[in-house]
Symmetry: C2
Subunit: 336 residues, 2 copies
DNA sequence: CCTCCCTGATACAACGTTATACCAAAACGG
DNA sequence: CCGTTTTGGTATAACGTTGTATCAGGGAGG
């Protein structure tokens, strides 16, 4: 029956002014212990929950954070979200997650909606095809933004991976095992982080005096990885190892091998990227470049908190290593 | 340099009052074509994006929707989110996703934060251990809420699955193949939907005059399913088929079999629930009870939209069928 | 030429908070 | 016992919108 209680409801119940209630609730100003108790009792009595929107409007403080992902379906992201949320919620922020599904238009709509609803900051994994107008919009609103993986502007804080170095380690490992023909599988767009991974791959090949790079583009999904591996076996039977743009592609590639009656780590070595939970669980277990997504989330959150604390500071870039986790999908090439 | 433009910025640029700008932007009132053009030009010129929070405060309208999941990591949810978002964004709403990770405390914090930040409606998959205080909070705020899967209150709209019937079909299928000892795998809490699934399983067993139910509780994850299957093979070698509380458990169980050198669909038949994308992709492909998560999301969104349109109407409950998709993990039991 | 009535735009108060200036009463020092 | 400070609280104006009452001006009708 009762309307939603507001500050004035509490004030009336406690017999004080709204200003007093507000001060008690925020712990500012000089309020005696006696009236504080009265006010808190009234708050409980009417079951009052402050309207943060109105508070934000007046105070200018904003504790709502947007987290825009380019592909929520990737299991990598669930843990990333956990890391971001845990850290930010501890500081009283509310994190809302949106999925652009790698669609630039949807991403633009999402970002506009987030700005319109006045998020105080953004953590953003840009989709491919992000346009300049959207970027201008964000900078014009001077919204604190931290991008992840794909750098789209020098004006934002950024957290990236040491992609080239990681791919170098993967190729080193394969070369040491004796592989001479190593392909790169996955991704479709000529942008970071994929381009940097391909760079690292190509440079490592050259360092080992192995043949020219062979890049096979495909979506970062299991079905695409499966199809790509089937195609690779047909067209390039000399290739004995592949490094992949992501674990989904790698796991799909393994499935493709299984479908041919072959097996990763026997006919062909496979290395993934991300180390999603399924990588260790798959049979054979996937050798992969591991980045701890929960910790990555924490890092992003910390970066954003620092930015919120000092909006004027120069943009900061951090890079995170991906470490090679050797499991069962890499082995010396078959003798024949 | 420039501050974030507001209504008055636009008004000044167009040489009209703020009220006029507001009316133009919302298409209400009587404004001549000439001034409308001037205003719209000014909007573009200063790159104005309205503050929806302030608008909501004044107008009472609210287009922010919260989506609280109990386990975002389950790939089932990515598609569900897509369905919900597509439908609601089409109607101008903004959907923000939170993950309670099946932790009642975190869920309570999340819900309180959403109420505090004045979401206009909620779609909610309740976690196990949801307490009455949280429920009271939601009803006291008379927030439009649609629950999914786990019903926690008669006062909310609800969308559920026909769990018992679905499990019945699964058991029928196995019985017809000749299985006499069928176990149930997965879940830990004595609440819907698991309890209803177990009910359906037990009733179907009875109808086929098969032995007493054998329920093996475990978390709804691959590692847990793997461990449970290993345990089952040791303790109950007579069991030749399992139905699972979810695809993650079922896929984990298949991995467990593989680890023993056995195979789902040969030594043991396995049936899952959900039909996540990986179910069809796994080898062997998983027989499972399929519910189209994207469509389910649309249904939820429609339900919430109807509720927002008529907050006073009596709560509505909808049930969705899960259909049996027969793939490669079910077969007649081995002869021996 | 003076009403009367539209048309088009504006002034102003409200939404639920917070920040600040302000005030009354009590406490204190000399 | 009076001035000064401190304590504890309130009144009031914002924040950026929207809804409504109001108003100025122009055209039509008498």
């Amino acid at each position: 029956m009762a309307e939603r209680p507001k500050l004035s409801t509490v004030a009336a119940a406690a017999g004080v002014s709204t200003a007093t209630v507000s001060q008690v609730l925020r712990g500012t100003g000089r309020i005696s212990a006696r009236t504080r108790e009265r006010v808190l009792a009234a708050v409980r009595a009417v079951n009052y929950l402050p309207d943060r929107r109105a508070a934000a409007l007046r105070s200018g403080e904003n504790h709502e954070i947007g987290l825009v992902l380019h592909h929520l379906a990737n299991p990598f992201n669930a843990e990333l979200i956990s890391g971001v949320s845990d850290r930010l919620e501890r500081d009283g922020h509310l994190v809302s997650v949106l999925d652009s599904r790698d669609d630039a238009d949807r991403q633009t709509r999402n970002l506009r909606a987030l700005i319109g609803n006045r998020r105080g900051g953004l953590i953003w994994v840009p989709a491919s095809g992000t346009d300049a107008a959207t970027l201008d919009l964000l900078t014009a609103q001077r919204l604190p933004v931290v991008t992840l993986l794909h750098r789209v502007s020098e004006g934002f804080d950024h957290v990236g991976l040491r992609d080239a170095a990681a791919l170098g380690r993967a190729v080193d490992h394969l070369a040491r095992l004796g592989h001479r023909h190593i392909a790169f599988l996955g991704g479709t767009t000529p942008r970071a982080p994929r381009s940097e991974r391909i760079d690292g791959y190509a440079r490592a090949l050259a360092a080992h005096r192995l043949g020219p790079p062979h890049v096979l583009p495909c979506d970062d999904s299991k079905p695409a990885g499966l199809a790509a591996m089937l195609a690779l076996r047909e067209t390039r039977p000399d290739v004995t190892a592949v490094v992949c743009n992501g674990d989904m592609v790698a796991l799909g590639a393994c499935l493709g091998l299984a479908r041919r009656g072959e097996m990763a780590g026997r006919e062909i070595s496979v290395i993934g990227f991300d180390d999603v939970a399924d990588a260790a669980l798959a049979t054979p277990a996937l050798t992969t470049l591991s980045v701890a997504p929960y910790d990555l989330g924490c890092l992003l959150a910390d970066r954003l908190l620092a930015r919120l604390a000092d909006p004027a500071a120069a943009p900061v870039t951090r890079h995170v290593e991906a470490t090679l986790v050797i499991r069962d999908t890499t082995a010396p090439p078959p003798p024949h």
